[in-house]
């Protein structure tokens, strides 16, 4: 069975790996370079803490179990010469910095505990023990031991290297320009800027560009880009130990508002820099720098870590998060064009959710038991129906 995977970001790489290891003849087609889009412009979050109980949190819990295993497998397979994916099960610390933010955070954590998430409400003293440089003025704190982090670009390269070892081919600088169809109208491969690729299955894993790819193949998919900016500091002595974020981050990730929203996420990287995120803004694929956005991120970061005041911002980058109108990824076959599968729409959670999304895809393709109920992620789910019509009309 030949499979074409479109997109060499984290999702495409994770899908290519599981398919190739299951014996499929996989070709990854990428318009630019591997990890050249969203996966290179994010923070490498593997979070359960920011997700409301429901299918996305179920997927995140599955991913939280899978990532340590995948990280170990990749390390064993690729050896010490390969760049480390810097998997760090460092845990997350969510705090509220306002009086009115405390109760909603506690309530949110309680709702997560009800579905089995390890969400430990801790006092300010314990929070300061975990993060000695945290602003002591916090009003509530919840510790999430299941949160983790990877270096996303290295993770993509490692997943793809593993896929290649299992026989996958990777074609970079190759753009999909159309669909090949068989006599019954099913998809039978893709036309690319470098010629036709015949395949039994096609997987659209093009992230925020998956809508355009779907259009090229002949179907609509209402995935939209939502821009997120991140600041990178110069290297400094290790002073931020977990993924630390302001409780209003949850509000920003779950919101569909087009206006600028920022909420603070602060974390150290293995290289010694500190990443400060992030914003959510619907501005299409506009990648121009907007100082007001990064100013707001900087301002709010000081509420969590006052010591950042004297640290220097060295770089900034912005990525486009693939965003679905109903805030759930799409994972599965497109009934309108059989043999075409979409795996996209993870918004800011794609790094974490990639490995589990790939397993859901594999189970559908092989018709084996799925690790999770795939129905909530199906493209014909009720919450997406109005948006599909909207696009079609």
């Amino acid at each position: 069975m030949r499979v074409v995977v479109i997109g060499a970001g984290i999702t495409g790489a994770a899908c290519a790996r599981v398919l190739a290891r299951a014996g499929y003849d996989v070709t990854v087609v990428e318009r630019g370079a591997v990890a050249g889009g969203t996966s290179a412009m994010c923070e490498g979050n593997l979070l359960v803490s920011d997700k409301t109980p429901g299918p996305e949190l179920d997927l995140a819990v599955d991913a939280a179990v899978r990532w340590p295993l995948v990280a170990r497998e990749l390390q064993d397979e690729l050896g010490p010469g390969f760049p480390s994916i810097e998997f760090e099960p460092k845990g997350g610390l969510v705090v509220s910095t306002t009086a009115e933010g405390a109760d909603p955070l506690r309530g949110f954590a309680a709702s997560q505990r009800d579905v089995g998430i390890d969400a430990r409400e801790i006092g300010a003293d314990d929070a300061l023990e975990l993060e000695p440089h945290l602003n002591p003025e916090i009003t509530a704190a919840v510790y999430y031991p299941q949160d983790a982090q990877v270096q996303p670009v290295a993770a993509v390269e490692a997943l793809l290297a593993s896929a290649r070892r299992a026989g996958a081919r990777v074609m970079t600088s190759t753009e999909v320009v159309g669909a090949l169809r068989d006599a019954t109208g099913r998809i039978a491969g893709v036309r690319t800027s470098r010629g036709d690729l015949h395949a039994d299955l096609v997987v659209n894993a093009a992230g925020p560009w998956a809508g355009a790819v779907a259009g090229t193949l002949g179907v609509e998919l209402p995935v939209l880009p939502r821009r997120g900016m991140v600041l990178v500091t110069t290297r400094m002595p290790h002073r931020v130990f977990r993924k630390v974020y302001d409780a209003d981050y949850v509000g920003a990730t779950q919101s569909g508002d087009a206006d600028l929203q920022t909420s603070t996420v602060v974390e150290s990287t293995a290289a010694g820099t500190v990443l400060i995120g992030s914003s959510r803004q619907r501005v299409g694929f506009d990648d121009r720098l907007d100082v007001e956005v990064i100013r707001e991120i900087a301002m709010k970061s000081l509420r969590l870590f006052p010591f950042l005041e004297d640290m220097q911002v060295l770089r900034t980058y912005g990525g486009f998060r693939p965003y679905m109108p109903d805030h759930l990824p799409v994972i599965g076959e497109d009934p309108r064009l059989p043999n075409l599968y979409h795996v996209t729409g993870h918004e800011g959670a794609g790094i974490g959710l990639s490995v589990s999304s790939a397993e859901l895809l594999l189970a559908q393709v092989m018709d084996t038991e799925s690790p999770l109920d795939p129905a909530p992620f199906a493209i014909d789910r009720p919450t997406l129906a109005p948006h599909l019509q909207e696009v079609a009309s």
Binding site: S173, T233, A271, I276, R288, V291, L302, D310, V313, R315
Partner: protein, 478 residues
């Protein structure tokens, strides 16, 4: 009240400011250094005046008259120690220039300016190729050594070896001598045949640039007089020492700069100056959206206009051409930015000078290209990116194991170019090592090391505060 904002107070920027004033525009000049003059006219502070500046600096008189005219002109503001830390392209097509002033290590004040016209004259960094041992104390870029000699009157060592390529090695050697160092050898990597072919071909083109030729001849005479050995087709291929530089190995280089085995020779010294040409400082032009040429300079037309409406470029960011070309380009850029035309009689002399010196610059560039095989003198543990301490072996190993063809991915998996200098020192070398000789065209992600949206590091506290003021040009220059 600024009509024309000039970034860079070197020869091109000052010439642009003076011409824009002559045309009647209100002008503001900013520069990150403590004093105007740029790298080229770097000099002692006013508190330590020296009669020798005119000896040390070519065109010193031109600098003096530009500076005096601009400093005494109420229509021109000069802000030194001011950095452009970001340029934003706004939806209406205007540019917002974000400034930060004051001590880089302290709290700084920020300001935003939306100028009607912007002249970029940001100059170039001098480039040094990595060489085994080049991170030892006592190794300097040729530009840094010259800056210490000109700006501080400090010689970098007692016995100094100068190596690299291009005519810049001459003034560096001269400055070192004037600061009291003994230059024990100058090693030019280009071979004499190539230099003769391109320096001396079509000599009539150089007629107008005759003082350039005599400037070079002067340096050559200085070398002969001072008995400084000058060897072409040679390079420093290893630097030795434990705590600091003790010696270098020089070797004959072939036409592509690969060392010729068996020609190595050890020379004792206590300092090394490396200069392999220049890299234009492009981040602000890139941030403003200016198109670049295939050679990666800012593309300008005959009026020094970039591809972005209202943005002009002059000096080394349009081509490495030296002070005379920078002065001519700056004058045209400033004049046209302020509403003039390049055909105007007022800039006729500048136009002629530009054409003359542009040809000269082109010939120098052709005579001193970076050899494609320079990487053969690297060893696995030779540091390429100094900020992040990434060595040549790591670059090669990661590129091979990931098979990546994306510069962004390669940078993030090796960390090369991600440190404090943001690839200003190593960027072009990293690109060449990762892509072979074909340069950035080989990368599938279209990335280059020239893009730096944060053009200068900024304290988070300074970023978090609203700018002290926001100024928008009151006029629109037709």
């Amino acid at each position: 009240m600024t009509d024309v904002l000039v970034v860079g107070a070197g020869p091109a920027g000052l010439a642009a400011a003076a011409a824009a004033r002559r045309r009647g525009a209100m002008v503001r000049v900013i520069d990150s250094a403590e004093r105007t003059g740029g790298q080229y006219w770097r000099h002692l502070p006013e508190s330590r005046p020296s009669g020798r500046e005119s000896v040390l600096h070519h065109q010193w008189g031109a600098y003096q008259s530009l500076r005096q005219a601009l400093e005494s002109d109420s229509g021109c503001t000069i802000d030194t120690e001011t950095q452009v830390w970001a340029i934003e392209r706004r939806a209406d097509g205007s540019l917002r220039v974000n400034l930060a002033y004051g001590d880089v290590d302290g709290t700084r004040v920020t300001e935003t300016v939306v100028p009607d016209r912007l002249v970029l004259a940001t100059g170039a960094h001098d480039r040094a190729l990595p060489v085994p041992g080049w991170t030892l104390p006592g190794v300097f870029t040729a530009g840094a050594a010259q800056a210490m000699a000109k700006g501080e009157r400090i010689a970098v060592g007692d016995r100094v070896v100068v190596a690299g390529s291009g005519p810049f090695l001459f003034p560096v050697t001269a400055s070192l001598g004037q600061a009291g160092a003994r230059v024990v050898g100058v090693f030019e990597a280009s071979r004499p045949s190539r230099m003769a072919r391109h320096w001396l071909a079509r000599p009539w083109e150089l007629m107008g640039a005759s003082h350039k030729v005599s400037e070079l001849a002067g340096y050559v005479a200085h070398h002969l007089r001072g008995r400084v050995p000058y060897r072409t087709g040679f390079g420093v291929v290893e630097i030795h020492g434990t705590d600091r530089v003790e010696a270098v190995t020089v070797a004959r280089l072939d036409a592509d700069w690969a060392p010729v085995p068996g020609t190595e020779r050890r020379i004792a010294c206590d300092a090394v100056c490396l200069g392999h040409g220049f890299t234009p400082r492009l981040e602000l032009a890139v941030a403003a959206g200016c198109e670049l040429t295939d050679e990666r300079f800012v593309r300008v037309d005959g009026e020094q206009r970039t591809s972005v409406d209202g943005v002009f470029a002059a000096g080394e960011i349009t081509a490495i051409g030296g002070v005379d070309l920078a002065l001519a380009e700056g004058e045209i850029a400033g004049w046209v930015a302020a509403g003039g035309r390049s055909a105007d009689a007022s800039v006729r002399a500048a136009r002629r000078a530009r054409d003359r010196f542009a040809r000269f610059a082109e010939r120098i560039a052709t005579a001193h290209p970076i050899g494609a095989s320079w990487s053969t003198w690297l060893q696995d543990d030779t540091i390429v990116c100094r900020c992040e301490e990434v060595d040549a072996g790591t670059l090669a190993r990661v590129a091979e194991s990931t098979a990546s063809v994306g510069l962004r991915s390669l940078k993030l998996t090796t960390r090369a170019g991600l440190g404090l200098c943001q690839g200003r020192i190593c960027g072009r070398s990293v690109e060449q090592l990762l892509s072979g000789s074909s340069g950035c065209a080989a990368f599938a992600d279209g990335a280059t090391t020239d893009r730096r949206p944060i053009a200068a590091p900024l304290r988070i506290g300074d970023l978090a505060r609203a700018p002290q003021s926001t100024e928008t040009s009151p006029h629109h220059i037709p």
